[in-house]
Symmetry: D2
Subunit: 367 residues, 4 copies
């Protein structure tokens, strides 16, 4: 059972290990005629690149993408787009000792159980570098959505216990702090919190929020392929995500129906709108024309310098302290991963939404 | 784009509307040789049947399942298992007026936007009756898992603001109260809360928790088909689910790495275990041999008798008050839906897990 | 691994055994708004119904289809269409002795090897009755294609050594003879051939040809999902089909490039056409706007009354003579199966063809 | 709709154009623990490499494969295997004039119709170089099968009208002539035939036959995913294939049931065998333990130097004569493509065959 391909109409197949030759992705099903160059992809990759602040790993990678196929004279051809990033700064020796024991919170043990052995260098396939392929693929999806006036935007909602305050929310602020938080005060507090965790040789988690604006109503399928269900899979497939919620999410469980229901209203332009958006843009698994709003919970980075208890492959209980270059928090770098995975899932469902009505199909083929 | 099929190796395809002839499911990929009769499925369907308490719809349906194929002399044959439940107590007239307006919190508007029109009788395909096919299919998956000593168990974790207290948790208590809560005190409180909501012509939401015990380590795939990602999709595809979390879930976002990491330990029998289970049984997207523990948040029932604002198809803003027979809370009936969907997703990944290692494949085919 | 679902955008999932309660199919992904009633499906099923001539099994089945979901007020709703045909005239006792041995040319042995045992009544899942679900699903696809001015038509090309002569080809003749041959002379000859085979307690095979007219150019994908590759799978998945060819097919292997290439020409209406159609309407795996023409080879019915050698489950070599009601030739009844499977495959690729170009997607969503 | 991925459990996703940076493939779902190095793949690629005889294109490519992921310390890890071959000898200028007209027998026109424009250099995605990814992926599948004692072997059965004679068939002869024919006499005749076609500035087609030996009985699924149906799709997805047949194939249509049925017999070792193999190793869509034997018909190379009629993009009818370096026959180079695609399809179904029986699943997970 494969599992390295995501999507139904628009698909991505990622490959590559942390300390192999490189990492990459093949995007298939991208419509022909989209203007695309490496710079379109690179600016997304740059947002997840390591080494951007003292809160991220010091591994130094330029992460320069090469597009190897599927683009001709500046436009996509409709055939698969293969993209590749070579690995550069691999300190494999840092990892040699990992081969003999199981790091808590990591996939070392489960890889061994599943496959009988593992590429132990830097997490292998479970490394954060696996997300490079996702981000590159999602960058194309984001460009496709933009050509249809659909925008996807993610940001840090919380770092540990420090949350963005709704009354101070300012989206542009994201770009001004290293934590990608749309609230300068919260960002400052969160930085202090992180400093403390780093001093304690510990790590932190957080929450990413994402908004998709401009989607037409009626995307997603009513039963298993609900828009939110496919989004949940896409987002929960990102390493370290432990929770997903849409609209009011877990809070909805405590609300009364009269509070949670969104009244329909007539918009000035004669279209149907909603007075509120507790639903997060989804009714019955299909987009309702409002913004889709969802959140993902990230666990704290499992690699910590503080001593931990574990076992080695000889069956002995031992104490370890993890070396190597690790992010004390992955949330700021994960923002772009959430954003691009959401873009990819949305683009896939947008393409899938074209076959729902016979009258529109007849019109399409009459051309 | 279809969307009525779930699963990769073990699949279910559901069909049927609330007020059509009936509802059903085709299960494909079930291994040959599983003892199966209608009673095995019926006992799960009985748990979701309406009319079991004053908190559920008064629609009266016996929901008797018929197995039409795939079973011969009491055992599954490996070919598709078709199951059918006829609809009986359809008060379609209750719904005739719904055709003209959009109920808040329902899929009326999104169905119209997607398909151009809709079967307006009782929610059509978005009715709770759609889950009958899921439960019937999941019952087979549960039986398959039991034959491998794997148990799936779901219960009500919270009703509105009333939560099960960990110190009073007693699983057997579930069967003793109508809300399926493993805590008698919380159940009593929750009943009072629901009475209040009903008196207010309002409704409530809640949280379902589910535990899968006995899974081998190594199930799920490291990238997109993570065990938790597939589970998230399965659970978020259930109508009214607005959130999904595994292990510590959203709480993990506030924890330090040193708190959230689970130390590996040696078990008395020489196997590797974990001192805690903050991870909810998943590391790197693969099962780690601990219990898989997850939660789903359900929004309050959108159908409420209290007046609400909405619009009709002529573009007028109107006030409505929903008639018909509706559950003030769907959580107690949704417990078995979560349990069976989880069973189905787990069984699918268990079957998918057989091809990971060459040595085991060689052994398999050497027989 | 399932295997009872065909299609990607438009899917069918069939179920049912020869001697179980019934057979059926769930069609998912059918666009909303297609006028559909049971009669639309029934007229296709009537063409494959047994008992229509002395060359078909005497099993008497009315094969009356019921549509259980997915249609509301005479039009498809976009949700799954479940269709069911009850089994009636089951002479299971005819088959009791089959349980103990393996019929040559049948799937008895392979079922036992795969699943460990089998439903031995009348071929179980490998019975010709399995095609009822295909035909019912394909009838819907054919109606969908008709609404886009696309016609699919199959007929008998050869019975045993007797072939339709190109110079006598007259399509309307099909309906006038029991063998569904578009050539009265060949049909008469073929009837004599079949009488001879029946007198010899033997059986015959044949070839079905099918033409799809009116398809737009550009359907099918350039690599694995070529139009002809998907068609090949659809057609070769019909029981008893041993060969598939498109356009000149096997004959093309003997032609020179200069003979086989079709010159492009300008049509009077200014469109691009082809002077000949050796390609059978496919270039590079995509439709070229010409008629798609393909053929399927059917083996002779394996059930024959003449004595044959085989083995029983005790490992003894024995002589058997097959009883029961069997068609000496299945080709005339298979014509509608080929036609509807082709319609289904074509409709699936037609829907899949809507996402190839960004400009057309932009136009679609701008509406 | 994507279409660049083949397989269900074991998948390959190919990418790359004739005159882009390179071509490649990602193989996902390969079990962990298979010994694999680049040489294992290279020896298959060398068999399809251009420039090996006067009957193949003079384009000079070393076609050296690089494995970029999924292998660690000489063994597959269970994660995706990315392989890449850089393009080298690209004479793009040879193709500049192709941009303005449609070559007969090529995909120029259909690409333009589907995507609105095309990468016109050397056939782009429809070039024979697309098969490099297939061969590389299939080489891994072949190695996997070998580790289970399953052998796949293809050879040239016919070149134009010249067929291998059954009485002179000698498999080892394949390696001794440039046409890969297991019959020295036929090979010599075929060479003369090809010389004549080349002198006439024309081209030839042919037939490839393939045998899979050692497959266990019971592979393939009884309905849509029949072993032969999946094989048909895999083989018909190879460019230039116009026909597929298994066992007696089209000849079966002319046989009587008594001739075509294979009697079951007891083998000396107590297993069940067949006296003949007209079925080509498949009964009811499942392998029966005999050799699987199938054939593929290849059309003559459409690129010929002789003048042909066609149209250009301005709608004018013109005469053209194709330049560039083209094979007068592709069959000898296609042999390895058929062999590796068959290996891949077989390996996929072999892995898929592990979940058919509960008793074997229980045994598997009891370990």
């Amino acid at each position: 059972m494969a599992g390295s391909t995501y999507g139904k109409i628009l698909t991505m197949t990622t490959w590559g290990e942390s300390h192999g030759a490189g990492v990459g992705v093949v995007v298939d099903g991208c419509p022909a005629g989209l203007a695309l160059c490496e710079e379109d992809v690179q600016r997304y990759l740059d947002r997840r690149k390591p080494g951007q602040s003292r809160f991220t790993t010091k591994r130094s990678e330029s992460d320069t993408v090469e597009i190897l196929s599927g683009v001709f004279e500046g436009r996509t051809t409709g055939t698969p787009i293969s993209m590749l990033v070579w690995n550069q700064d691999q300190h494999s020796k840092d990892y040699s000792e990992i081969a003999s024991y199981y790091r808590p919170g990591h996939a070392d043990y489960t890889f061994d159980e599943k496959y009988g052995f593992r590429d132990y260098r830097g997490g292998g396939r479970s490394s954060g570098r696996e997300t490079i392929g996702r981000v590159a693929a999602g960058a194309i999806a984001a460009k496709l959505l933009e050509s249809l006036n659909i925008q996807v935007k993610a940001y840090t909602k919380a770092i540990g216990p420090v949350e963005v305050a709704q009354e101070r929310f300012e989206l542009a602020e994201c770009e001004k702090n290293k934590l990608y938080m749309p609230d300068a005060v919260a960002a400052a507090e969160a930085e202090q919190y992180l400093e403390r965790k780093m001093a304690e040789k510990d790590s932190a988690g957080g929450i990413v929020e994402c908004v998709i604006a401009g989607l037409p109503a009626g995307l997603g399928e009513p039963v298993f392929d609900k828009f939110n269900a496919n989004l949940a899979k896409a987002i929960c497939s990102i390493g370290a995500v432990k929770g997903f919620e849409i609209g009011e999410g877990f809070h909805a469980a405590q609300m009364a129906g009269s509070e949670n229901n969104d009244a329909f209203v007539m918009e000035p332009d004669g279209s149907v709108g909603k007075a509120t958006n507790h639903a997060g843009g989804i009714l019955g698994g299909m987009t309702d024309g409002s913004e889709v709003v969802f959140r993902a919970a990230f666990k704290p980075t499992p690699s910590i310098a503080a001593e931990q208890r574990t076992v080695n492959k000889s069956g002995e209980e031992i104490g370890i302290s993890i070396k190597g270059r690790h992010d004390p928090i992955i949330v700021p770098r994960a923002v772009v991963v959430v954003e691009t995975m959401a873009a990819f899932a949305a683009a896939d469902m947008l393409l899938g939404g074209m076959t729902a009505r016979l009258d529109r199909i007849q019109e399409f083929y009459r051309k």
